[in-house]
Symmetry: C2
Subunit: 416 residues, 2 copies
């Protein structure tokens, strides 16, 4: 089957999904969760093939762990699907209803986007994640996973399609691009006649490729340099705790801290305490301005060109001393802050200044950058974390997988 | 000045605009309105040069009329700017404020998009329109008007920049790409480092070019086939009035009716009354199914391939008889209905069916397609009419020129 057929089938399925009741969509999700558990043997066997191949190819233990499925993880994935059942279905709800002076009753009604294309890397849980969130919001999806997860994904897609079939929904509601050709990704990005949104879930390279080649709107996100600025008036002890949380809780996450900016007036006090606290855990990459205060840190090196444009995703922390909040903002602008940034301060003006001028999707005052997350934000689910400004910004939940249409009602009403 | 410099200057200006108070933005708009009237002589002289050149080049009277400025029109444009002053500034307002279980106070705060690029055709009022709406929402704008309006636009941009200067706002808040090279448009579309949104205001060709070449999100819209379906249960007399309004009030508008679909059970009654009512005003382009009922119309021809994919923008109306609401929906899907569509019916099920399955940005029950308009919708202003599903759909007002950022506040709060 070529990609145009795939697109046409997805579009047709999306017409059916758009008017499927919440009850039916939830039934399909319940069957999907049950089948994930029932068919665990088949799924784990398929995953074992991927794991073996990846091990043979020399994949690192960390990446192998991302790829690995086991009974517990499968159970957790099934429960994530059950959690999606409990979430409110946004489709059909109306916003901003009003009766206009011209006599028209007008509102905006939430509708599915239509067809969502998702290109992702080696994590098999994403397959179920995206499929269930798209299904709940009445969107058809076209999935394209990483080569390394091929067998796992094939087994998971079979479970999904079994659930669709058992519930009487079109199988093409969730389709998977099976062939490995990279050319197919380029083709997918041009299917604007059938696909309404592209979500790349992967590194900056994948996003760049999508942005440059897609004729379909792309959700850019999931990466970016995160900053914490410790202002002169900050509570030092407690700021150390927040900075530590931002950096070490899970360094591989996109919301973990990359660059620490410290007001010159507190640089000495703050950095000595921080160095003492983080000790052997973190390597400091220090700007000239910060180096003098980090002499006692066990792992420290001088920053070089590009360090402050690096998303570390590791136990590494860039550090720079700045004159004030303006200096912090200027640094953040120079290094394209767009994801999650925080200020530690007790000064109301500086807090507001930081909130209003930081170019980030999420801005914090006296809180960890690690909060940027659909679950933490209470969205119940997360499709992606957008760092762009159109459509959705920050963690995207179910509502961000919808569009709206204007609904106008009259009594045979011509425009005046 | 090359385009990268233009982009950099716009970005810098956008930083200042993002924190400019509503009062200052309104002052700039007031000065702009006053200057438009004060400098009317200079503007009209510049416009006269454009008009003369266009006339010499053989431009049609209709297009010349679109290009023409006079005292009255300039006064109207100035008053449109004064109207923008009265609109609510959306920037800074907060949505969905809540305190989460994890202790974080979270809200979404409306912020400007940043820099908006607008590419438009030969209507000088668009220059002032876009500049004032972008300014009100704290966005910097980069404008690129049609070659035919060059002198008029230069005079108008000078007025805008005078107003910016007098108010102490950066002149680069509104910039105009002066050189005629088409290559510059392609360059603008790649300036994703500095520009956040592209709004093309022109025909399908311009939109296609932007969609295919832009690495910046593009707002597609402003054109599309509009349909009215007259159901079996419709009030015939009153439906004739609404169809007539949809078609003849302003055929050059993108929300005017292109294709009329009539339920077979009322085809004879309805079409004979419509033909009698529209008589010499409209040419009917009839599908085989409708031809027998239109024999008495004075201007009628048989439809050929492509007619139902044509946005007429003229006193021409495609007509087809269908079996029922499903037949109407199928026709609309086959012909990419995406703008404004209406059903005339007294049947509640058919009304809901039509609302939920029509792929249009605006769907009407017993009302004219002509309502799709920012002013009619009470938005106070209209930047564009989007037919895409991401970010904004249908008429876009001030809010649609904004993004939001998540603002989280804690008391030195680490993520649990």
């Amino acid at each position: 089957m070529d990609l145009i057929q795939l697109g046409q089938r997805a579009k047709q399925a999306s017409f059916a999904l758009a008017t499927t009741t919440t009850a039916t969509k939830n039934t399909a999700l319940a069957v999907m969760a049950d089948e994930l558990e029932k068919q665990s043997k088949t799924i784990l066997e398929a995953n074992a093939i991927d794991i073996q191949a990846a091990r043979d190819a020399g994949m690192s233990e960390a990446l192998l762990d991302r790829l690995l499925l086991n009974e517990d993880r499968l159970k957790a994935i099934a429960n994530d699907v059950r959690n999606v059942i409990t979430l409110n279905d946004p489709i059909g709800s109306e916003l901003d209803s009003r009766v206009l002076e011209n006599g028209l009753s007008l509102s905006r009604r939430r509708v599915p986007l239509g067809v969502v294309g998702v290109i992702y890397e080696a994590r098999p849980n994403v397959t179920i994640d995206i499929a269930s969130l798209c299904l709940k919001t009445g969107n058809a999806s076209i999935l394209r996973g990483g080569r390394e997860t091929f067998h796992s994904n094939m087994a998971l897609v079979k479970v999904i399609q079994t659930a669709l079939e058992q519930t009487g929904l079109p199988i093409a509601s969730v389709q998977y691009i099976e062939k490995p050709d990279r050319e197919l990704v380029s083709q997918l990005l041009k299917l604007d006649e059938y696909v309404d949104m592209i979500i790349p879930r992967g590194g900056a390279g994948l996003h760049k490729m999508c942005k440059e080649n897609s004729t379909i709107p792309v959700i850019i996100g999931g990466f970016g340099i995160s900053h914490v600025f410790v202002d002169e008036s900050a509570d030092i002890e407690r700021s150390v705790a927040v900075v530590e949380n931002s950096k070490v809780q899970r360094p591989s996450a996109c919301n973990s801290l990359d660059t620490l900016l410290v007001h010159k007036a507190v640089a000495e006090t703050f950095l000595s305490k921080l160095a003492a606290s983080l000790k052997d855990k973190v390597e400091f990459v220090a700007h000239d301005s910060a180096l003098p205060y980090l002499t006692h840190a066990s792992k420290v090196r001088a920053a070089v060109e590009g360090d402050f444009d690096t998303e570390w995703l590791a136990f590494v922390l860039g550090v720079k001393v700045v004159d004030d909040v303006e200096g912090a903002i200027q640094h953040m602008r120079d290094h394209n802050a767009s994801h999650s940034d925080a200020i530690m301060t007790n000064d109301l003006n500086n807090a507001e200044r930081f909130i209003n001028t930081a170019g980030s999707a999420a801005v914090y005052v006296n809180a960890s950058t690690r909060f940027t997350d659909g679950a933490q934000f209470g969205l119940g689910a997360e499709v992606a974390v957008s760092t762009q400004k159109l459509h959705a910004r920050g963690p995207m939940g179910l509502e961000e997988l919808t569009s709206y249409k204007w609904v106008g009602k009259g009594n045979y009403l011509p425009r005046p």
